[in-house]
């Protein structure tokens, strides 16, 4: 690892301003790190080195003039769910094969406007549906962390596995991600990174490939709580193009990191002691409680009675919305088309070839629960349960300022290890999904390691639009146990050796995608010369 790639966003920002380093150096260091690691980690599905160098040069010009922007020269990875102008965007689905948007998502545009640099597009579960990143149309992304003394490839979690893996492996200083049921917080916990899922409506959904509209929310994955605050400050905005975007004022979240938590009321929900939770997670949670006591916060036992219903309700609402949101992928206007004997057959062939197993499963579940006669029994019922879940939190927040829970019931598991049972995989989201159902902000912070050396995370849940308190409280844990260290860079030694079984074909595909990105360059120049 080069010293440059190990910098936090906050450090890099300050050293760039002091002209101790240049944006171009920083970007080049990351690009070489990516080249050394990506074959093994498969974190990036598209590397945009030229764009990165272009942007970093511009940043250096501004910095030289002393006119640096908030994120000038900070190299970031972008989840492939974000539409990026003239840069292939697939949501890691074959159905968006070769799709090159003519537009830039609001959140990524906000980052470029702040001077950030795009390193490339990050791997994810197809359409953000998954908890292991194994359901990508590219090679599964690999967790930089391994069990002590093992060379077994572990999942980075999902759906934002590429974002978490890249940030953890120091091949991105920070990354955009998205969270519909835990897709930011669970991979952050699996990789020793910080994942922030903001309040629903805090970040615009415009240009974010939709999974479940009432739950999707963009957010950052970083290496420190401060970096998460810095990134959110730039990502968040009121967007007139998104009818669900909030016009709540966006504060400078970094200013909230005062370290003062004396008298802060921390809620501990009894319902989160679920069966099957590993004892080390239970212990981690107790440790977290101790950190807060030590810091002078007040621990309050609370009850969130409808917790156990959040996951089943989620698995009605999210697939229902997805079944409709994914209807636009019909092979007519963009993406894959597989010709059939007539129009309907073409639709069916295209969608059958374009969607992976998990996406098909959820689209079919969603279609079923919305189909004639079932709406009231499923979707409407689930939306009512959702009201109750929200009420539980409203009640709780009368007594406490933030809620502390584990982020995941287990540490990272091995690629291909999960049983075929979808419901079992869904249980990964048991602690995170309630937050999406209630539209609240949630933060996953590294809080320690499992006995065999894997990172573990704790989650903080806050009041709507009170990310500030969540971040301030999150820093207590970070201060107590320090940011997760750098994983051993086994990929440098092993190089391509440690590729997961499935990688042969799809990694050829991601290689192809790189060539596509270079093929896309002349187009880019034509546009800019207009």
């Amino acid at each position: 690892m080069s010293e440059l790639t190990s910098l936090t966003i906050a450090d890099a920002r300050d050293r760039l301003r002091k002209k101790e380093i240049t944006a171009s150096e920083l970007t080049d260091a990351h690009i070489s790190a990516i080249e050394a690691a990506n074959e093994a980690l498969q974190a990036y599905v598209l590397i945009t080195a030229d764009k990165a160098r272009e942007q970093s040069k511009a940043a250096d010009t501004r910095l030289a003039k002393g006119k640096g922007l908030p994120l000038d020269g900070v190299p970031l990875g972008i989840k492939d769910l974000y539409c990026t102008k003239d840069v292939r965007t697939t949501a890691c689905s074959n159905i968006l094969d070769g799709f090159t948007p003519a537009y830039e998502s609001t959140v990524s545009q906000n980052l470029w406007n702040a001077g950030a640099v795009m390193l490339g597009k990050l791997n994810m579960d197809e359409f953000a549906m998954g908890s292991s990143n194994e359901s990508t149309c590219f090679s599964p992304c690999v967790n930089p962390w391994r069990k002590k003394g093992s060379t077994k490839a572990l999942v980075p979690g999902g759906s934002s596995g590429g974002s978490a893996s890249a940030v953890s492996a120091r091949i991105a200083m920070g990354a955009t991600a998205s969270d519909t049921g835990g897709s930011i917080r669970q991979p952050a916990a699996f990789t020793g990174t910080v994942g922030l899922k903001p309040t629903y409506g805090r970040c615009s959904r415009w240009g974010l490939v939709a999974f479940a509209s009432s739950l999707d929310q963009a957010g950052p994955i970083t290496r420190t709580v401060r970096d998460a605050a810095i990134m959110l400050t730039q990502m968040a905005s009121h967007d007139p193009k998104d009818s669900t975007s909030s016009n709540a004022k966006v504060p400078d979240f970094e200013k909230a990191l005062t370290g003062k938590v004396k008298g802060l009321k921390i809620g501990i929900p009894k319902e989160y002691h679920v069966d099957g939770m590993s004892p080390e997670i239970e212990a981690l949670w107790q440790q977290g409680i101790e950190y807060y006591r030590a810091a002078g916060a007040e621990i309050v036992d609370i009850s969130l009675p409808h917790t156990k219903y959040a996951l089943p309700a989620y698995y009605i609402i999210a697939p229902a919305e997805a079944s409709s949101n994914l209807a636009r992928y019909d092979g007519v206007r963009y993406g894959l088309r597989k010709p059939g004997k007539d129009l309907i057959d073409t639709y069916e062939e295209t969608r059958s070839a374009g969607f992976g197993a998990e996406v098909k499963r959820r689209v079919l579940i969603g279609t079923y629960v919305l189909s004639a006669g079932y709406y009231d029994a499923y979707y409407l019922k689930a939306q009512k349960v959702r009201t109750l879940i929200r009420r539980d939190f409203d009640e709780a927040f009368k007594a406490v300022d933030v809620v502390l829970t584990p982020a995941t019931p287990t540490p990272a598991f091995g690629i291909g290890e999960a049983s075929g049972d979808p419901v079992e995989m869904y249980l990964n989201d048991v602690f995170t999904v309630t937050v999406n159902m209630a539209g609240l902000p949630g933060l996953s912070v590294p809080a320690g390691f499992s006995k065999d050396g894997l990172p573990l995370g704790l989650q903080l849940i806050g009041r709507p639009f009170d990310e500030e308190t969540v971040l301030r409280a999150g820093q207590v844990i970070e201060d107590a146990c320090g940011p997760a260290p750098m994983p051993a860079e086994w990929w440098l030694a092993e190089g391509a050796a440690a590729k997961p079984a499935k990688s042969a074909k799809p990694s050829a595909k991601s290689a192809a995608s790189k060539s596509k990105s270079s093929a896309a360059k002349p187009k880019k120049q034509k546009k800019s010369s207009r």
């Binding site: 539409c83 009818s243 409709s324 019909d330 206007r333 129009l343 309907i344």
Partner: protein
């Protein structure tokens, strides 16, 4: 409300009389500059896919934002239909696959429409009046256009219309004949045009109707209905209903049964046929669009729109009857078209309104027909027509001369005063001049003078002679009186 079907509306079948039950779902394009959920233009035509935004093309990650003018237009229309305005309504997704439906769903309103129950009053030519209940009005997106005749193996899709705002206006099944149905949609179109919420241009597809038709024996329960999709002219609506009713009666009288079906009307054959493409798209999986919040506004907003509403045909008609003393029929004819009503009112200002109405509905309409011009293009301005009627009223010209003057006005567009002046068509009021003519005629026709003493009826012959000699410019009344005196005809 149970509707008494008028005997003339019953259809005589082999097994006796049948009753037709008709309901219309009218799709009216909202008059607005931009689309319901995007800033793209609603302009008709245009290069393929040019009035299309990323939202209309359903690109990944695109989101809808509602156009407030479309909401206002829907409320105005609801008020015009004397309907319940719902302060809370919801946009739902209607899910089905079709190439001209880019999102794979149509944003519509299902459980909670913006407008509820209302009514439309209709006056039929043959004098009877009836009421059609409005079930609901909701806002929804129009689809794009598929062209099937451009290529042997492919259909071409143009999304210019995709996302344009429509009002779906659903009537209750209160119509009992194709004539009633045609009268209803005509009246509805008049109301929308008065309101300025839809241009009612059926040729450009600004108004289309789905027609639900069923038949039954009088007094029986409703029969199974068939829906004829997308009929785009009033005439075709009539033809489609008549054909479909006959078809259903035929099936039933042959002992068959009607299966609920979606049909297309083919204007070339004048027949309806079952529609293949939509065959199994019936499970629409409606649910509230999570990209949008419920649509809410307060009563003040509705009142504000109500206070700015223009006078509607029914009110105008009532006023024409009371204020101008027109017959209900005349008033009805005049208000049925907003421009006609405005023309009439301008011409009738301070004149004999009845006479103006007769001229407008008689000579003017005939002339415009002949020239195939609309009233707004009329060579005879409302002011000129009014002036002419004024001249008749104060005897400046006779009714007979007026006919000539009017024709000249049609040709030249000149003011009646100018025409009468230049061509010396003014009525002769100088009695001396008439005396002189009378003297000449009496002198020249001793025989008739004898005759009139015996047969006073023949006085008319003298009147005719005098009028002839004066080229019609003498006042017939005055001539008559003077002749009586000269020829001392008393009775």
């Amino acid at each position: 409300m149970t509707i008494e079907t008028r005997p003339e509306n019953l259809i005589e079948g082999a097994t006796g009389p049948w009753e037709i039950v008709i309901g219309l779902e009218v799709h009216a394009q909202v008059t607005s500059k931009s689309k319901l959920f995007s800033g793209a233009s609603t302009e008709f035509g245009g290069e393929p896919n040019n009035h299309v935004s990323l939202v209309d093309a359903a690109m990944p990650g695109m989101l809808p934002v509602i156009n407030q003018e479309c909401i206002a237009q829907a409320i105005r229309t609801g008020l015009g239909l004397k309907a319940q305005i719902n302060l809370f309504s919801v946009f739902d997704r209607k899910n089905y696959f079709y190439p001209d439906l880019p999102q794979g769903y149509q944003i519509s309103q299902y459980k909670f429409p913006v407008v509820g129950e209302g009514k439309v009053i209709i006056d039929m030519k043959d004098g009877y009046t009836f009421e059609v209940g409005i079930e609901r009005l909701h806002l929804e997106q129009d689809a794009g256009k598929s062209l099937h005749d451009q290529h042997p193996d492919y259909s071409f899709v143009d999304l210019n219309r995709s996302g344009v705002a429509l009002m779906e206006i659903v009537s209750k099944p209160d119509l009992r004949s194709s004539d009633e149905a045609k009268a209803y949609i005509t009246k509805l179109r008049t109301i929308l045009r008065y309101l300025g919420t839809c241009d009612g241009n059926m040729e450009q597809g600004s108004m289309r109707a789905d027609v639900n038709v069923s038949v039954r024996k009088p007094g029986d329960d409703l029969g199974t209905r068939c829906e004829i999709k997308n009929v785009n002219s009033i005439r075709f609506i009539g033809q489609a209903i008549d054909y479909e009713a006959r078809r259903q009666i035929g099936v039933l009288e042959d002992g068959g049964k009607i299966d609920q079906d979606t049909l297309l009307f083919d204007p070339k054959t004048g027949k309806t046929r079952s529609m293949r493409s939509k065959e199994e798209a019936h499970d629409y999986r409606y649910f509230p669009d999570p990209d949008l919040l419920p649509l809410e506004f307060d009563q003040d907003y509705v009142d504000e729109l109500a206070s700015a509403l223009p006078e509607l045909p029914d009110e105008k008609r009532a006023r024409f009857i009371s204020e101008f003393g027109l017959s209900p029929y005349d008033a009805g004819v005049l208000v049925s078209d907003k421009e006609n009503a405005e023309y009439f009112e301008a011409a009738a200002k301070g004149r004999d309104a009845k006479m103006v109405a007769n001229w407008v509905m008689g000579d003017l309409f005939a002339a415009l027909n002949r020239l195939s011009k609309s009233i707004t293009e009329s060579p005879v301005t409302a002011q000129h027509l009014g002036e002419m009627v004024g001249m008749i009223a104060d005897g400046a010209i006779s009714g007979r001369i007026a006919k000539d003057v009017f024709e000249i006005m049609v040709e030249t567009g000149e003011a009646p005063g100018k025409i009468v002046e230049e061509r010396g068509l003014k009525t002769i009021t100088d009695t001396g001049a008439i005396e002189k003519v009378i003297d000449e005629i009496i002198a020249a026709n001793p025989k008739q003078v004898e005759q009139v003493k015996a047969k006073p009826k023949t006085l008319g012959w003298f009147v005719g002679q005098v009028m002839k000699a004066t080229g019609g410019k003498a006042d017939p009344g005055a001539v008559n009186a003077m002749l009586r005196e000269r020829l001392d005809v008393t009775e």
